[in-house]
């Protein structure tokens, strides 16, 4: 790489933090020794990365002082509430991981199932609809969010969890299209915000 032929910006951007391979790095270093323009550009990339890196643990100005503490408390409470609501409405057991299924075994199993399905279809070409009522039953297990009076309730089937607001408090509710109800009210302790999500 001659001095006249500058190093592409992408190479310099990657070089400045060691994101290039060994030989590429050597080539770039050789060029930078002789080219002030590219050396200045590389230094500028390093300076900007250091600036970003220093900002890693700095909170936004809006959360200085006690701002972060109160936000962290609110988030922790909402996470606990979200997990409790999830446990309450979760019926379906997750299947355990099948560690022994390797790609060849999986292909073999799929091929076997395909052959079996073809054989069954040849014997019974008429489709059966016995599964339909079971599908309808599934709707009972879907979580439902309800907000009425002073309480917000998440339920599924015959199980439910309700989060009541103090009686008589003026509750403002917001419903989101993503399946969440946000209740906001003022009581003796201050402003309380409750987010209930259905997933």
């Amino acid at each position: 790489m001659s001095q006249r032929q500058h190093i592409p910006q992408t190479q310099l951007a990657l070089y400045s933090r060691g994101d290039v391979g060994f030989w590429r790095r050597k080539l770039v270093e050789r060029h930078l020794d002789r080219c002030e323009e590219c050396a200045a550009a590389a230094l500028e990339f390093v300076r900007l990365q250091e600036s970003l890196s220093r900002s890693a643990d700095v909170m936004p100005a809006a959360l200085d002082g006690s701002g972060w503490q109160s936000l962290a408390s609110e988030m922790s409470a909402n996470i606990r509430l979200g997990l409790s609501a999830g446990e309450c409405v979760s019926f379906v057991e997750r299947p355990s991981r099948v560690a022994l299924v390797t790609p060849p075994r999986l292909s073999l199993a799929l091929a076997g199932l395909t052959v079996l399905a073809v054989l069954l279809a040849m014997e019974n070409p008429v489709l059966h609809h016995a599964a339909v009522p079971a599908q309808a039953g599934l709707s009972n297990t879907l979580p439902t969010l309800e907000a009425s009076g002073d309480e917000t309730m998440v339920s599924s089937g015959d199980r439910g969890l309700s989060v009541p607001a103090p009686a008589g408090s003026n509750v403002i509710r917001t419903v989101s299209a993503h399946g969440a109800v946000r209740s906001r009210y003022v009581d003796d302790t201050g402003v309380t915000i409750v987010n209930v999500y259905a997933e």
Binding site: D19, L48, D64
Partner: protein
Amino acid sequence: MSDLIDSPLISQDAQSRFVTENLRRIFLQIYRIVGNVADAQDLTQEAFIKALSRQDQLKDEKKAAHWLSRIATNTALDFLRRNSRVSFCEMEFAPERHSESPEEILLRSEHQDYLQKGLDTLSPRERAALVLRDVEDLPAEEVARQLSCSKATVRSHIANGRIKFRKYATRNSR
């Protein structure tokens, strides 16, 4: 974190510890990607709830921090994809920091704002790659894993992100 993996019924203490140890880091990571306190709050909560509800997917407890970070990145990127927008930080809390003078607070706040606006000029994936590589200091291989793409693609996102950020800095040099 070992409690989280061994027991199917996680104790509330273990959950609280996990949240407390990682809350600040995850919030800041998401904030750098979405650039907005209110959205970062909602997405941080969502990321923790997802992670703690799916703890059976975690294979190696030593990788819990990276695993959580990956869920957080995906949650933030999904949000940006859904909303296709980036907004700036609202000043809804009054700043109060007693160890700094008002001038220092203003300078720091301006610097934060300056960096965040620079990040906002990038595409969501470039921003996520740059945040994970240059702010969180993760190796490029881990960034590629978190963004579910190849190392070559992630190197391209990182390079483009750095070039755009440099252009922004040159335009707004102070």
